[in-house]
């Protein structure tokens, strides 16, 4: 697997943006008890602007730095113990979200707003389905909790409402951000002192 230097750096930057998005609640007060986190938003943007492969990669990097003990997950948490938390499925699901969004946006060379909207909705679905399933099975398997799958969804409704609104906001800014990012990725020059055989002579 060959990753271009600029893609490698961009994936890292997206992982850092994800850490900001998870903890932006530290700067913003919660709305009706729901803390504002922008993780779903950043994950959708990662897929929409970096594409499925690099987008998913950036989310894997985010998960890994969190597991390595940097408090990048929501509420400044982190460390390998996070795997045991019921909400770890949501963290894992961002990888899938970015990948799915990227796959849909990539189908067209010049995706229009409805393509971004479809991608956003699919990404959000991937996020919540994976997250709630993990929560259900972790409650079931580890502590044998008497909680039905439906009850988990009911508990998730306030968060879902917040994320639906944020997804629409994301869809609206995605084309703008993608345009800026594509310019950065195109502009990368031939590496100086790189492999001479890859250099073409006009």
């Amino acid at each position: 697997m060959k990753i271009k230097t600029v893609d490698l750096v961009l994936a890292a930057v997206y992982a850092a943006l994800m850490a900001i998005g998870a903890n932006i609640a530290a700067f913003l007060p919660p709305v009706q008890g729901v803390p504002l986190t922008f993780q779903t938003l950043v994950a959708i943007l990662a897929g929409a602007t970096l594409g499925s492969r690099i987008g998913a990669l950036s989310m894997i990097v985010y998960t890994l730095i969190g597991l390595a003990g940097v408090p990048v997950f929501a509420g400044f948490s982190g460390g390998p113990g996070t795997i045991m938390s019921q909400t770890f499925g949501f963290i894992l699901s961002f990888i899938l979200t970015a990948y799915a969004v990227g796959k849909i946006v990539e189908r067209r060379e010049h995706p229009n707003l409805s393509a971004f909207l479809l991608a956003g909705v699919v990404g959000l679905a991937a996020n919540y389905i994976t997250g709630t399933l993990y929560m259900y099975f972790s409650l079931k398997l580890w502590i044998n909790a008497p909680m039905t799958y439906g009850a988990i969804w009911v508990a998730m409704i306030p968060f879902l409402v917040k994320d639906i609104i944020l997804t629409f906001a994301t869809v609206l800014i995605a084309p703008q951000i993608k345009g800026r990012l594509d310019a950065v990725r195109r502009k990368q020059p031939m590496p100086v002192g790189g492999n001479p055989s890859s250099r073409s002579n006009p």
Binding site: T5, A12, A16, A19, L28, G69, S77, S85, I143, V161
Partner: protein, 263 residues
């Protein structure tokens, strides 16, 4: 800001000085052998082993307790469930349909010790090892995967770059928020829809600024001849010492003791 410091607690201790590879292998093995315990002597042995690790690390207890916070609910919940829903032997306590049996109580204590030991051991790893050391250790341990064309080096580098970028971007977020507030943006009041709109002038400059930094870094790396893993030399080198071998040997001994003592 807490984010910059991370979970790492700088202290001078033998645990801090261990090679990150030894700690990673150690914790990985420990997490597996914890499941060998099934009676009082084995669980006591695990508790003593974990506690001596904590004592050797010189890390104040409150950091360990803070690490337990996210899973405290899980531990309490597990304890209560196991205590109340294991019905074996005579009841110690009865209230309506609730029944606490001695077997249930013991079962609950065992499961709680197991969870505690698992979490304290993994927390200790991240409290005594910097994220960059963990990244370096993981890169070296996983380097055989390069043969399967898994991009181990690239992952390690991306993690290092992300770690470097987080404080910068936190600062940038604060700056943009102040700038937009000065222009009349409202981040802390209004309905959800209104606030979703307010974040657009926050996110777009944040992302565009981040891309600019990424572009500059990529350019700088290529200008210095970065070509991936090929022919790269390292500034930070890991060195395996006797104490690292001692750690792994003590885990092997512990495993033998657990197998011998388990019922």
């Amino acid at each position: 800001m807490e984010l910059i410091i991370g979970q790492y607690v700088p202290r001078s201790s033998v645990i801090h000085r261990l090679d990150p590879r030894a700690k990673l292998i150690g914790v990985f093995l420990y997490v597996i052998i914890v499941f060998l315990a099934n009676n009082w002597p084995t669980y006591a042995l695990l508790a003593v082993f974990t506690a001596s690790g904590v004592a050797l690390s010189n890390v104040p207890l409150r950091y360990i307790v803070r690490g337990l916070k996210p899973v405290l609910f899980l531990i309490v919940f597990t304890f209560v469930l196991n205590a109340l829903f294991t019905h074996q032997g005579p009841a110690l306590f009865k209230f309506g349909w609730l029944e606490l049996t001695s077997a249930g109580f013991i079962q609950a204590v065992f499961i709680s010790i197991r969870l505690l030991v698992l979490i304290v051991a993994t927390t200790l790893l991240t409290l005594t090892t910097t994220p960059i050391d963990i990244t370096d250790g993981l890169e070296q341990l996983l380097s055989p995967l390069k043969k399967l064309r898994f991009p181990v080096h690239e992952f390690a580098l991306m993690m290092a770059i992300a770690l470097r970028f987080i404080p910068t971007l936190v600062e940038e977020t604060e700056k943009i928020m102040k700038a937009q507030t000065a222009r009349g943006a409202e981040f802390s009041s209004g309905s959800l829809v209104k606030r979703a709109k307010a974040i657009v002038p926050l996110l777009v400059p944040l992302f565009v600024g981040a891309f600019k930094r990424a572009e500059e870094l990529a350019m700088a790396m290529e200008a210095r001849g970065y070509r991936g893993d090929v022919g790269r030399t390292k500034w930070r080198l890991l060195q395996w010492q006797t104490r690292d071998t001692v750690l792994l040997a003590s885990i092997a001994l512990l495993t033998a003791a657990l197998v011998f003592l388990r019922g």
